[in-house]
């Protein structure tokens, strides 16, 4: 079983969900301990990404519900509200240089069934 973990500060990881909960090309939202929200995605090739869930253009917590795509080989998510695109690796908005969202490190951890 593979679990996705997200890092809020260097060295500390929190479990989000089983990897299988993520449909390739779509995201899910996770509630963070301090009340913030993260949007976690998985692409066709199985890579995972996490960014802040708040759409800076509208303030709504919806980025996890956007469509994943790629442009020039780089993955992005398009906000479901006004369609601005955010680079999943850097959080930078591709349609407005002045806007960016936070990025969180994610990793997939293989739990040995014998130990769990």
């Amino acid at each position: 079983m593979t679990t996705l973990e997200l890092s809020l500060s260097p060295g500390s990881w929190m479990a989000v969900c089983e990897e299988s909960r993520l449909t390739p090309g779509r995201g899910v939202a996770a509630l963070l301990p301090d009340g913030r929200q993260a949007a976690v995605f998985r692409d066709r090739s199985g890579r995972t990404y996490a960014i802040d869930n708040r759409d800076p253009f509208t303030g709504a917590q919806v980025l996890s519900r956007g469509l994943v795509g790629s442009a020039d080989g780089r993955p992005f998510v398009a906000s479901p509200l006004l369609k601005q695109r955010f680079d999943l690796e850097t959080g930078r908005c591709l349609d407005d240089e002045e806007v960016a969202v936070a990025v969180y490190p994610v990793r997939a951890v293989q739990l040995d069934p014998a130990l769990s």
Binding site: G25, A29, G35, R44, G59, Q61, R65, G66, G69
Partner: protein, 846 residues
């Protein structure tokens, strides 16, 4: 009123009198320079509406509404804290006390006063000029009055054959009147064109069926019972007309300035210096009311804009820093209406010493072109009649030596040597858009027309430069769907259909652009291909890979609202609903606290559901017999109906029954865009069927089918496809029509735009779907039959499957926690999204 003069830090007040095109440009220039933040700004606007595009005034007659003509951005006044008094004019100015008194009695103290009062139409003092049926042509109100009066008139005359007079004449003609133009000068448009040009213009205008009377004045307007019945001309002749529009030039509105003792010109106009200051340094005048330092009053908008910029610069940076100010401008113009191209630019009359004319005239086709050059070959100006295509190019070349000889420039394309002169040959500093003073260089910084308009405003004035701008921009290189596919939607549909492709990944990896293969696709192609696959396979749209293709709304089978909550729209076929079902909707809305509204589509929308509430809400709705209304999908929305024969005394068929039947038949059908329909029980058309993608109107013998109608931003009346159909014939024809559309339309192309684009238009469509000219009809019908058989309610299917329900949570790691950012505040006894809360950055979970 606040005693603002007493406060320690005095906020300067700028009062603007006149909210026309130039006044508004002045306000924008103040905002751009940040002056709106530092000063109180008061605007007195005499007309009953804020500034609008007077240059495009005539387009009101081709369907533009007064709102379309507005030049004030939504929220502009509020955003910049500008006080605008609509419908209130300045009545007097006390320069000693520095106050302006308005007609309403309001008094405003000013530090700076800016007059932008424009002009008024000059009406020659002929007897009868005030009779009923006499009009001028200046404001939206004038046009509304002309339109109203023209309903009872058959003949009209325009006094004045200048630029505006011809526009007005075109408008009268368009209103269906037999139209005459009376011009005192020996030719039409005497200011702009020379004799040769006037002759060419005359022929063209006469060919269009207008009566032209040049070299004669108007002596009297003949009246009976106070209304116009005719006109007596100075050559002794008489014209029988029902209405008269005076367009004999304009005069600056300088009365306010005269009354308060400001200097005005001998022939009118408020005298100003280069910085647009009047004889009182606290008062400025800009636009058509000003008499510029070069002794001219400019009756065009571009010079007025320059004056507006000048004064804004003086007020923000001070007189020393404001640059050269306004010293004069060129009078280039292009006539926009009547289907005749007329343009003049630069020194059109060849007044410069020693200049030469190069003329091309073809009286048969009504083309006349003249260029004025000096001895060194510098282009000074010109006149173009009948073919003004090169105007956009020649105007910016004025003042330079053109790269090819003037003879070549006036010859029609194809005659003589080929002319290799395109916009690319223009110098970088050539002004392409003279309305907004935008150079070729500035346009070169943009990559699309939309961007040019947004960043430079070029092309948003008179529009005559758009053709040249388009040529300066990189050509739209391919018609591909997006950066992932070089094929359009209909081609992808055919590929998927013939090769039986059933997954997006397979289609992308086999038919995507090489650089996009193996990638993720994008927000454009994923839903498009998702819709194609759904149209072809009729399966549940949210399983497997399909789930990742759907737009967010399809993904949650609901429409996302601005705060991340969703709306719920159950299907109410034909708009018919039982009291019991109404009660269920009411109870669900009450129990979940949802905002409830009747939609424009004859059903009920429930707003404000959190994603995790959707399954429970739909469980109750499905149990009560409701289905998804597909408000989210690019699919059938509603089939509206009128009450029809059952109740209505005029009805000739059962429109409700037919509407319900059609809505149930086509529900869930995935299409390139949404589909709407309506059925009316008789020709009175209460269901508005002719504004629908497919609309049905009952006749005594059956049904008439209309297709390609549209409401929305670009409304289109539907076209009649077939008449007096039986129930079965009607349905068969709609089946074919819809499937043919689905197969061949582009992404997000409604049936209206598709039909407009379809080669051969309505006739071709009839051939294909009525006469089966392509032998496609069997297949189209079979595709529809497959859809009808396979239809299942998406919400019922979702609720039946725990796996499918798992996505309906706010948080994957806290399935029971509601999203704390979705909040509401009360309004009119219901809820609305709490948007203030959303603007607080980094909201915590409290």
């Amino acid at each position: 009123m606040s005693a603002d003069a007493d406060t320690a830090a005095h906020t300067p007040t700028i009062v603007l009198v006149g909210h026309g095109m130039v006044g508004q440009r002045f306000l924008e220039a103040l905002a751009d320079r940040g002056v709106t933040g530092r000063a109180r700004i008061v605007v007195l606007c005499e007309e009953p509406r804020p500034a609008y595009d007077r240059v495009q005034l005539t387009s009101y007659f081709s369907g533009k509404t007064p709102d379309d003509l507005s030049v004030v951005g939504a929220g502009f006044m509020a955003e910049h804290g500008i006080e605008l008094y609509v419908g209130d004019a300045a009545a007097s100015v006390d320069r000693e006390a520095r106050t302006v008194t308005a007609r309403s009695g309001r008094v405003f103290a000013y530090d700076t006063l800016v007059l932008a009062t424009g002009s008024y139409p000059f009406v020659p003092p002929v007897p009868g000029k005030d009779a009923r049926g006499c009009f001028v042509y200046r404001t939206i109100e004038d046009l509304l009055a002309i339109e109203e009066y023209a309903k009872t008139a058959t003949t009209g005359a325009v006094v004045g054959g200048g630029l505006l007079g011809l526009e007005a004449a075109g408008a009268l003609k368009g209103l269906g009147l037999e139209t005459h133009v009376v011009e005192f000068a020996p030719r039409l448009m005497p200011v702009q064109v020379d004799e040769g040009g006037g002759a060419a213009l005359l022929r063209t205008i006469e060919r269009m069926g207008l009566g032209v009377h040049t070299g004669t004045g108007t002596q009297e307007v003949v009246t009976a019972d106070g209304a116009v019945t005719g006109m007596r001309l100075s050559d002794g002749s008489e014209l029988a007309v029902d209405m008269v529009v005076f367009s004999a030039g304009v005069r600056p509105r300088d009365q306010l300035a005269r009354d308060c003792g400001l200097a005005v010109g001998e022939r009118g106009g408020i005298a100003v210096d280069e910085l647009c200051r009047t004889s009182d340094p606290a008062v400025f005048a800009i636009g058509e009311c000003a008499l510029a330092v070069d002794g001219r009053v400019y009756g065009l908008v571009a010079p007025g804009y320059e004056m507006a910029q000048t004064v804004a610069a003086v007020l923000s940076e001070g007189a020393e820093e404001a640059g050269d100010g306004f010293t004069g401008a060129d009078m280039s113009t292009k006539l926009k209406l009547l289907g005749v191209d007329v343009a003049s630019f630069g020194d059109a009359h060849g007044t410069a010493e020693g200049c030469l004319d190069v003329v091309y005239a073809d009286s048969r086709s009504g083309v006349y072109k003249k260029l004025v050059v000096d001895r060194e070959g510098v282009l000074l100006g010109g006149v173009l009649v009948g073919d003004a295509d090169s105007y956009g190019l020649l105007r910016p070349l004025t003042g330079t030596v053109p790269p090819v000889s003037p003879e070549q420039l006036v010859l029609p394309a194809g005659a003589g040597a080929p002319v290799a002169l395109g916009p690319s040959s223009l110098p970088d500093d050539a002004v392409i858009c003279s309305c907004h003073n935008v150079t070729k260089h500035a346009i070169g910084q943009c990559s699309s027309l939309a961007e040019v308009k947004k960043c430079t405003k070029a092309g948003t004035g008179c529009g005559s430069c758009v053709k040249v701008i388009e040529k300066l921009l990189p050509a739209p290189t391919d018609r591909g769907l997006c950066r992932c596919f070089s094929y359009g939607r209909s081609e992808l549909y055919e590929i998927a259909r013939t090769l039986r492709v059933t997954s997006f990944a397979a289609l992308l990896d086999s038919h995507g652009r090489p650089e996009a293969r193996g990638g993720e696709g994008c927000e454009v192609c994923k839903p498009t291909v998702g819709s194609i696959l759904a149209s072809l396979n009729n399966g549940y749209i949210l399983d497997g890979e399909q789930a990742s293709l759907q737009d967010t709304n399809d993904h949650f089978l609901a429409n996302m609202q601005r705060n991340g909550s969703y709306s719920v729209v159950p299907r109410i076929p034909g708009g018919e609903i039982t009291p019991d079902k109404l009660i269920v909707i009411g109870e669900v809305a009450r129990d979940y606290g949802l905002y409830t509204k009747i939609t424009g589509g004859q059903r009920i929308d429930l707003f404000g559901a959190r994603v995790d509430q959707l399954p429970a809400i739909w469980t109750r709705l499905v149990d009560a017999g409701f289905e998804s209304g597909h408000a989210y999908g690019k699919s059938l929305r509603t089939v509206k109906s009128c009450v029809g024969q059952t109740w209505c005394r005029y009805g000739v068929q059962d429109s409700v029954k037919m509407a319900i039947h059609l809505e149930l038949r086509y529900r869930g059908l995935r299409a390139p865009h949404k589909l709407k329909s309506a059925v009316s029980g008789c020709a009175r058309e209460c269901a508005e069927a002719q504004s629908k993608d497919f609309g049905i109107i009952a006749t005594a013998n059956g049904w008439n089918l209309y297709v390609g109608g549209n409401g929305g931003a670009t409304p289109r009346h539907a076209d009649l496809l077939a008449q007096d159909l039986s129930d079965a014939e009607l349905i068969r024809l709609i089946d074919r029509f819809l499937m043919f559309y689905i197969r061949t339309a582009d992404r997000l192309e409604r049936t209206s735009t598709w039909l407009e684009r379809l080669e051969g238009g309505l006739e071709h469509l009839k051939d294909v779907v009525v006469h089966d000219s392509l032998g496609l009809c069997d297949e189209l019908e079979a595709l529809m039959a497959a859809h009808v058989d396979a239809y299942r309610d998406e919400w019922a299917q979702t609720l039946d499957d725990p796996e499918r329900l798992r996505r309906f949570v706010s948080f994957v790691n806290a399935p029971d926690a509601p999203d704390p950012s979705v909040r509401f505040v009360p309004e009119r006894d219901q809820i609305k999204p709490d948007l203030t809360f959303l603007t607080l950055e980094g909201v915590a979970s409290r």
